[in-house]
Symmetry: C2
Subunit: 567 residues, 2 copies
């Protein structure tokens, strides 16, 4: 359906941050934000000058270690145009988008970067590349959008062998759609927006929208067990991807997009989440749906976290099937409100006045609208009658839990700005503030305990370090047995010398707490290297052994993204 | 919640057939059945005398190969009462309930039977047993209900080492229920009815009802990727079992019942379906639901298979969430009608009259009520308002597809007799007729093609063999992308000498066709040994290698149910 593109046309990030478009985070149109930032982490935006945009020319980029013969052989497979080893491309592909990676990139920490980037166009080319890499004992790192937030695309610093990143970006076509079965065969290198555009044109959607949607790919999602914001209805990527086609040095393995497929131990589920260690996913057969006739996002407000969770839990137990349910806690709600833009017109001013009046009323009712009040969004899709029925049911549930329904106006804001947050981290790093997230899955029974204990752990660590910081959380991705808690933190640091140490201390304090309250090491941010400290607690020593044995038997030379998930 | 039971109290089958209760198949109260059997496979029930019930004393049962020292050591772990090696117990545990196994048992083909049966009561005992078995190079076969239909519990005939079957039946307690998360921790040896009883008492249900429900166990379901009749709503066992506890000779591995659990390749999904090759599942944490307020099964009739499938497909695409959807094809519908019991009272007679009038009316409309007409059942659960809304929606869909709604009266019949079919096979074998099933998953796009081609393959094989036989099919277990087709066949055989050969020829003809039309080797009957001929087509040679490598690295001595799934 698409025309082929060459390597340099493949979407990519700037070498030091998120994306390659014009979007940057602005605070000058958000009147409440500077005061908020000042009071929470002592950041005086009026006085601070953001660091200038990093320049690659300020740093030494180590030469490629790839020998001329290997270079010629690999470039020969894909054509010279699709083999890139200039500095910027090698740097871009050497880092994912975790805070550590961004920090390393911005500060020119190029201790070990990839030696070349290759862009195959077909299974056959992928297989030739992999076979060559294994035969000549090089290292392959598969690469989708490079949006990994856990070190999954980052080369090991002590890797001595030449490292080739395999960028799937030229394999981006929706190959075919089976209308009757609601299945689409799609090449794995396709970026989120490109994929949805191709599907939408034919009236379909896959319904997978991770926050990183604009700069991540189908193959990357499958290889990391990604979850999108609409998972309540459309499922995690494990539910969406029904069939896989995976190229290995020794051949191709396929899993069938059919119910009842898993005979014996699931090959499909060994490959999902394998972060490139079992080969390269070149094609996924995915569940697609007719685009919803109607869609509405409704906003709700709860007096506090516990009542909000009561509401979310009751929705999960009801006969309603929302597209998503999301609850911000008190601090996140305060943060969101601080991000509201200045009213631009009469209508905006009226809205603001209505809001002020409402909040004053709620305060009279005894709500703490500054610290405790929790904003929630629920999204409905379907026929008009189904939506209005479900909306009515949720309104009742919310009321019973002690909350109020705000309506579709504030709900619409959610849909508009949902992909903008990734830019905030770059903005903060430019001001010596690290902003990051840690997410976990837990059960409904332990979700409140988890929420409060992780807060305690974060602030105890700040106290110990004697530094300020801000922390907030939302619940998203609801399931029968539990949900995801997604924590965000922002911590200013004195200087680059202390940054990584302080960051690591805080990240570990938060992550370490997850394990204590029946949590997972991450709900949807994969393992890579950065979450590896908790993999043994997650799956146990025998689980680690099972995974390691699997990877070592399939890749005895450790040529395929070695060191990721389990070392 | 339960009192412990000793080995001899554990539920079991008769040594030569299904179950150990009084139920047997009767035809004398089914007036249309003899004529039907006569016309379809030439079986004259009035004239045939069923073979007498097999007597174990007619056969030689080989002595146990277990040495005295090993026997003492193993019995010492569980106590003499819970270690059984008398002939009948050894024979019962040497066969699953596949046609081949039943035939072998009935005909005294005891070439290789298990040498002892051990009944542990705790993880600790299980681990001691496994450690002993591995240390002394014996063979362990885990055993739930022994309802396997693919050879999964049957010892390999050429196994030289002593074989110990580990029966989990004493580990049968619901350990705890987490009300908020809707999760129950349950010991894996519990039988279906026992489990539901324990849950129901507290107002919960798991909602998993395979046809083998009465004589199969939670651990067996997990180890074979079982599917129950209510999977449309409650999920396959893979969806239901959220956490696993597995004992291995070298320790215990646990998977967490939490969303986001699968970091890296899924350990959980390696264990599901592993048929004992990765250790013994001693505990499952399962999704449980409050028992439905209301439940109704509605029957529908379609003029033919294609219109029925149109209806089932439309339901899968609608906003309705039924508990199950099921469509019998023409021959299965005819078979079901032939099984109707003689009316016992006035009410029954009126019902029968109404039916006759309806069928006459349908014939006038041009329906072929004897060969083509397809019966369908859809089950609804929930609030009264939801059920009536969903019922109305389905009625509309059925009408649009060309069918008619019969109502809840005939629907109720489905719920009453759902667990009775297993007894039919024993009855038939007693009359020199083999009756068996083959099931496959396929996509909506190919389901009609699959249906008709499998018919062709079956009857072509009968023609080739020059024997009569009857074939029918239903669709059940509906998913977004497809559904399960479940074929049943009944074929009379001349004598025991030709039975296995003819059975195998027919089974292979049917199974071989699955692969040609994007089908799976089975939808929910596992691999064992009997479906192994198709495992390579199913997962490919690399998939086979991945599974084999996994099992060999985890069990280098091949002590854990060797030879199953992949040899
Ligand atoms: C700001 C931000 C927000 C995010 N929000 C979300 C979110 O909402 N939900 C979520 O799930 N994740 C989120 N992430 C994490 C990240 O986007 C996901 O892990 C995503 O799935 C990665 O996709 P990618 O195409 O960028 O893969 P990459 O980062 O390129 O690669 C990730 C891993 O997968 C492997 N890989 C990539 N493509 C293939 C392939 N074709 N075959 C085999 N292996 C392959 C790589 O080797 C690597 O190990 C976020 C990240 C950031 C920075
Ligand atoms: C008449 C009939 C109808 C059937 N209908 C259905 C149906 O509707 N749906 C369906 O899914 N299946 C059905 N089956 C197949 C069978 O019931 C399933 O495979 C069932 O899951 C087996 O459970 P079990 O407890 O009897 O296991 P068993 O037969 O005892 O064992 C099956 C396999 O699992 C292993 N195993 C058992 N328990 C454990 C454990 N605790 N830990 C590790 N491994 C273990 C065994 O070693 C063996 O490999 C049917 C079978 C028959 C005969």
């Amino acid at each position: 359906m698409n025309s082929p593109i060459s390597a340099r046309e493949v979407k990519r990030h700037k070498w030091w941050g998120w994306g390659l478009d014009d979007i940057t985070f602005r605070w000058d149109n958000k009147p409440a934000f500077p005061g908020f930032a000042k009071s929470k982490i002592g950041m005086d935006l009026e006085k601070l000058t953001p660091a200038p945009e990093p320049q690659l020319s300020d740093y030494d980029v180590p030469a490629s270690r790839l020998g001329a013969e290997d270079r010629a052989a690999l470039a020969g497979i894909v054509g010279e145009d699709n083999f890139l080893d200039d500095d910027e491309y090698r740097v871009v592909h050497s880092f994912g988008r975790s805070v550590i990676d961004l920090f390393r990139a911005r500060t020119g920490d190029f201790a070990r970067i990839v030696d070349a980037v290759i862009y195959p166009k077909s299974d056959d080319e992928v297989q030739q590349i992999l076979a060559y890499i294994v035969d000549h004992d090089l290292v392959a790192i598969p690469y989708g959008g490079g949006s990994s937030i856990s070190g999954s695309v980052t080369p090991n610093v002590d890797e001595k062998r030449p490292i080739i990143t395999i960028n799937l970006g030229r394999m981006r076509e929706v190959i075919s759609i089976d209308d009757t079965s609601g299945l689409a065969r799609v090449e794995a290198g396709v970026y989120g927006p490109d994929l949805e555009e191709q599907l939408n044109e034919l009236g379909w959607t896959m319904g997978h929208f991770p926050d990183s949607f604009t700069y991540s790919t189908l193959g990357g999602w499958a290889a990391t067990r990604s979850t999108g914001m609409q998972s309540d209805r459309y499922g995690d990527i494990e539910d969406i991807v029904r069939g896989l086609r995976v190229v290995r040095p020794d051949g191709i393995v396929e899993t069938k997009p059919i119910p009842g497929r898993d005979s014996g131990s699931s090959i499909h589920e060994m490959i999902l989440g394998s972060e490139g260690r079992l080969g390269i996913i070149t094609e996924c057969t995915v569940r697609v749906h007719r685009m919803a006739e109607n869609r509405v996002v409704i906003a709700y407000m709860f007096p506090d976290w516990e009542s909000g969770i009561r509401g979310m839990h009751a929705i999960a137990r009801s006969e309603v099937h929302p597209v998503f349910t999301r609850l911000s806690d008190g601090p996140e709600t305060a943060f969101s409100l601080s991000m509201l833009k200045e009213p631009k017109d009469k209508k905006g001013e009226i809205t603001r006045k209505v809001q002020d009046t409402l909040f004053a009323y709620l305060r009279k009712k005894g709500w703490d609208t500054e610290n405790e009040m929790c904003m929630s969004y629920v999204c409905f899709e379907g026929s008009k009658s189904q939506i209005s029925r479900e909306q009515a049911a949720v309104k009742k549930i919310v009321k019973k839990a002690g909350g109020i329904t705000l309506g579709a106006g504030p709900g619409a804001i959610y849909d508009q700005k949902k992909f903008d947050t990734p830019y905030l981290r770059d903005f903060l790093l430019g001001l010596n503030v690290f902003g990051d997230v840690s997410d976990t899955g837990t059960t409904w029974a332990r979700i409140n305990e988890m929420h409060s204990k992780v807060y305690d752990a974060f602030y105890a660590k700040l106290d110990e370090l004697g530094i300020p910081g801000f922390f907030f959380c939302h619940m998203s991705h609801s399931y029968h047995q539990g949900a995801c808690l997604y924590f965000t933190f922002a911590v200013p640091y004195e200087n680059n010398e202390v940054m990584l140490e302080q960051y690591t201390a805080i990240k570990h304090a938060v992550q370490g707490e997850f394990q204590k309250h029946a949590g997972t090491l991450s709900h949807h941010h994969a393992v890579g290297t950065e979450h590896q400290p908790w993999i043994e607690e997650e799956v146990g020593p025998i689980g680690v052994k099972m995974m390691r044995d699997l990877y070592e038997t399939q890749d005895p030379g450790k040529n395929l993204n070695p060191g990721k998930i389990v070392s």
